[in-house]
Every structure is written in C-alpha cells, then in structure tokens.
C-alpha cells in the first residue's frame, strides 16, 4: 500500500459524493423510486395491517437490495472511457479506487436505507421492537452492498453488456446481506438478540473487502 493510498481513496470518495450532490440522482430518482415500490406492495397484496406489519421489514430490505444496486451501478454507468483513461494516467492505486468508491456508495446506501426505513415504518405500521439494532444492521448492509456493487461494477466496466450486467451479478451474491439484515431484526422480536446473523454479515463485509483488494490489480490489467 503506497503512502498515497488514503489521500487517493478519499479523493475518489469525495469526487463520487460531489457528483451525486450535483446530479442528485440518489436523492431525486432512486429514493422516490424505492418509495413508490414500497407503496405498490400494499396495493398489490392488500392492506391487511397484520400482513403489512409482518412483511414490512422484509420488504424494506428487498427494496434496499434491488434499488440500492442502482446506486452502485451508477458509477459504472456514468464513467466514460475518456474519464477512465484519465484517472488511470493520474497513477491511481486500483485498491484506493476500490476503497474510495465503496466508501462513497456505502454512504449513499446508508442514506437510502434511512429514508426507506422511515417510509416503511410509516406505510406499514411497523412495530419498532428490535429496531435499535438497525444502527448496526444498516451500516453493515450498506458497506457489504457497496463493496459488492463496486466489485461487480469494475468487473463489468467497459464490457459490451456494461451496467445492465451489474444487478445480475450483485443480487444473488447479496443474499447473506438480505437474510442477515431481516433475520437480525426478526430474531430480536422473536427470541432476543441473535448475534450470529450480525457476525455473518460482518464476515461478508470482510471477505468482500479482501476479494476487492486482492483482485483490484488483476482487474486493472484488463485496461
């Protein structure tokens, strides 16, 4: 790891967040889109309060997975070949690029989850028992999903299928995050804190970080 690692990682993260701040795609497109999805579910399955409060947490994280992927895809989507060339010639450390992008996406996903969480509580009349654990669950989900999205994004970058491929790569592999986040909350309401799900999520975050670091250079070789 070079001594320019963290400055580069932070510069990348800052760039991504600045671009989001100006374009507002997460704030004005992804969040409303996710909220509409949460609104559609009761229309489709009926407005039985028992049913809604039972499926609420699960629906929240399904929406977070499916729509959160859009946030991760966006990076691949908006980067032009010229921009990729330019950043390569600035001598960016590919590991720093992975770290910086994951950090920015994780922050955006966390914000997305918080808003979606509030929408779900309001629309589905959720009982908030166990929700204090969201303080741990949501960041773990955000980081894991961001890592997975960044990795898949750089695997699919500048291929013919490009951004369309990323959701297919991310979604099946995100299942431990989906199950971990819903089951943590559910297990608390059922039989007290079950830390094993959180441990599993933490391991996923760690494993993805290792895969991201180890494969950053082989992936750079393809450019």
């Amino acid at each position: 790891m070079s001594n320019r690692f963290w400055p580069q990682a932070f510069a990348i993260a800052r760039r991504d967040l600045d671009r989001e701040r100006r374009s507002g795609e997460v704030a004005w497109v992804t969040i409303p889109f996710g909220a509409v999805a949460l609104l559609l579910v009761p229309l489709a399955v009926g407005i039985n309060q028992d049913v809604l409060s039972r499926i609420g947490t699960g629906m929240l994280f399904v929406v977070v997975m499916l729509f959160g992927v859009l946030t991760a895809v966006r990076q691949t989507n908006i980067e032009t070949p010229a921009q990729r060339d330019a950043i390569a010639l600035l001598g960016v450390d590919p590991v720093a690029e992975f770290a910086g992008r994951s950090m920015a996406t994780a922050l955006l996903l966390l914000a997305f989850q918080v808003v979606m969480g509030a929408v779900t509580v309001a629309l589905y009349g959720l009982d908030l028992a166990g929700w204090e654990w969201m303080v741990v669950v949501m960041p773990l989900t955000a980081i894991g999903l961001a890592e997975l999205g960044t990795l898949s994004g750089s695997i699919a970058a500048s291929t013919n299928a490009g951004p369309a491929l990323v959701p297919l790569l991310v979604t099946p592999l995100a299942i431990p995050l989906l199950l971990g986040s819903t089951q943590t909350v559910e297990s608390i309401t059922r039989d007290g804190v079950n830390l094993s799900w959180l441990v599993l999520m933490a391991i996923v975050v760690l494993v993805l970080a290792i895969v991201g670091v180890v494969t950053a250079r082989p992936l750079q070789e393809t450019r």
Partner: protein, 246 residues
Amino acid sequence: MTDATRRSRSWLDIVAVAAVVGALVFAMTSPRVESQGDSARMLFIHVPTIWLAYLAFAVTFVASITYLVTKKLKWDLIAGSSAEIGVVFTTVAIIGGAIWGKATWNVYWTWDARLTLTAIMLFVYIGYLALRRSIPDPEARARRSSVLGILGLVQLIPVHFSVTWWRTLHQSNTFRPRDIQMDGPILAALLMSVGAFTLVYASLLRHRVHLAELELVALEAAAATEGPVAGDAVTAPTIDSAGAGE
C-alpha cells in the same frame, strides 16, 4: 493436435456413452421403491446432475485461480467451458427435481435450503456466462471472468450459511428427498450413475475446451500478419458533384 489426443478423446466419448447406457439399464432394473413407485428412479438422474453441477462450478473456481496465477489462457477456457456445462446440469437438476417433486409430493417447488441454494447458484453462473459473452477480447475476458469465478464461489459460502440458517429458523414440514431407503442394489445403481455422468462431464468438457481453443486459433489467424487492418475499410469519400442536385 496429435492423433493420440484425438484418439483418446473419442475413446472417452465411447466409454462415457457406454457407462451411461450401463447405468440406465442398472437403474431401470433396480428394485422398485414401494413407498414411491417408479418415480423414485428419478433419483438416478437427479443426484448425478446435481453432483455434476457442483463439480463443474468447483472446476471453474480452481481453473479461475490457476489462470490468475499462471496467466495461461487454457485455464480460462476450462473455467468457462466448465461453467457452461454446470449451468446446463443445474437447470436440468432443477427442472428434473421439480417434476419429481410434483410426482411425489404434488408440489413443483419447496423452500428447502438445498433447493434454494441451487437456484441461487444457477443465477450466479448465468451472470458469469453473461459476462463472458460481453467481452470479445480473450485476455480481458479471462481476467474479468476469473475474478468473478472466484468471487462467485467465495461468496457462495456465506450464501450457503445464511440460507441454511434461515431454513433452520423457519423449520416447517420440509420434504426430505433422501428418505428413500438406500439398500445395496439401489446404492450401487446410484454410484454407477454418478460415475457415468462424471465421465459424460469429462467428455463434454474436453470437447468444449477443444472448441474454445479452435475459436482462439481462428481469432489469432484472423489477426495475423496477412489480411486487412481496420483502417483499410476506410476509403476516400466518393462525391459525385454532377449528381449532387438530384
């Protein structure tokens, strides 16, 4: 390619086909399972197909790592070919399992952990194949897909744990496909069938890798010293000033 390799390939084909025929005969003549009737004979197809799926994806994983270490394109061809075979067999296993499930328990699908995992695995490798399709350059394709080949399998471990835990927590009346009594003749027929399918896998893999190698050779030949370069297709514009007013 030498004559010896060609000969050994056709020998493998013959042995594989013979083994499958033998296994089928064995399976059809094995004692009938009274509790399930003849539909239990699906076992002899179902278990080997699912075994092959796992074997094929494990080969993809190992070949992906080997490619990244050795940078020899052959390993990537093995990884890709094996994944293709794995996807075919996973699909067969899922569809076959659904038919068997319908015949035995009157449902096509159950949220059994193993079944759910198999379905997830199928989607992971469909993504892998989609990635391969989208990269024409052999070397770039090899790099990117080997990274995905590794990520896919590594991440399947937590996927496995999460799905298994999830099922244990929500234990309802899970169907147990393994409640068939495995006594001598049935077990022998099953093992034969697994062995025969493995030979089929080996034979398919060899053919598929060979085909991929031929594709690569054709690609190299097309890019070799003779023949036009991309720019040759561009000629000076032909502007006919007399016809401009038409």
